[in-house]
């Protein structure tokens, strides 16, 4: 079965309670977002971007087995 790694950072980690977890049977980033927003409704109230294998994506993206998907709150470095 397909497995993906999910990473969270900053304010998003406070919502999910975990910095990194595995999920099974996820086909696409939209599928992941739907499941996460259902599980953590506060995600719907905050801004975030999604990176697949360290590249920020702008639209729904299919996920391969073992993909790493990062949920990134707005950057505030510098």
């Amino acid at each position: 079965m397909k497995q993906i790694n999910v990473l969270t950072f900053g304010a998003i980690t406070e919502i999910t309670g975990s910095k990194s977890f595995l999920m099974n049977g996820i086909d696409s980033t939209q599928h992941l977002v739907d499941l996460l927003e259902e599980k953590y409704p506060r995600l719907k109230t905050v801004q975030y971007a999604i990176a697949v294998n360290k590249e920020v994506i702008q639209q729904n993206t299919m996920l391969d087995n073992d993909a790493t998907v990062a949920i990134l709150p707005p950057f505030s470095g510098g």
Partner: protein, 147 residues
């Protein structure tokens, strides 16, 4: 010249003035350089809802940040006639008044160094997955937002 594999830009805690001075000193042997441009980001003691920011705690998605910084570096070297470029960003706690970002560009003539330095700073703020948590004097906090 430039490395092809991502360089680490992160250092734990504040960037000291001694480190910055030493970086400048190291360039005295590169006598083709005619101009340096330096940007230093300092943690500001903002007042938010009556509370002072005492420090910022920085965290990152390091692997992605280093890859992204590598892309920025390559694009900047393509665009500007630079001799060299150095970037350092703090992780962990940096107190108000301390330095958390050091961008240092050098070129034969001033315009390339100045323009490249500005563009690198803007791109770092916009494109690097780094987060600042503003820590207040009463132990509360909020996540920083870049303007």
């Amino acid at each position: 010249m430039e490395n092809t594999k991502p360089k680490n830009i992160f250092m734990q805690g504040a960037i000291s003035s001694a480190f910055i001075a030493d970086s400048i000193q190291k360039h005295s042997i590169k006598t083709n350089i005619g101009a340096h441009s330096i940007f230093l980001g300092q943690v500001r003691n903002d007042v938010i809802d009556g509370k002072h920011v005492e420090a910022i705690e920085y965290s990152t998605y390091e692997e992605m940040a280093l890859e992204q910084m590598h892309k920025i570096r390559e694009a900047i070297f393509q665009k500007y006639q630079l001799t060299c470029m150095h970037v350092y960003h703090s992780l962990g706690i940096v107190k108000a008044g301390e330095i958390s970002l050091f961008v240092f560009t050098s070129s034969q003539h001033r315009k390339a160094a100045i323009d490249a330095c500005e563009e690198v700073v803007e791109r770092i703020k916009k494109e690097l997955p780094v987060w600042g948590k503003e820590l207040f004097e009463d132990a509360s906090y909020q996540w920083k937002q870049n303007n």
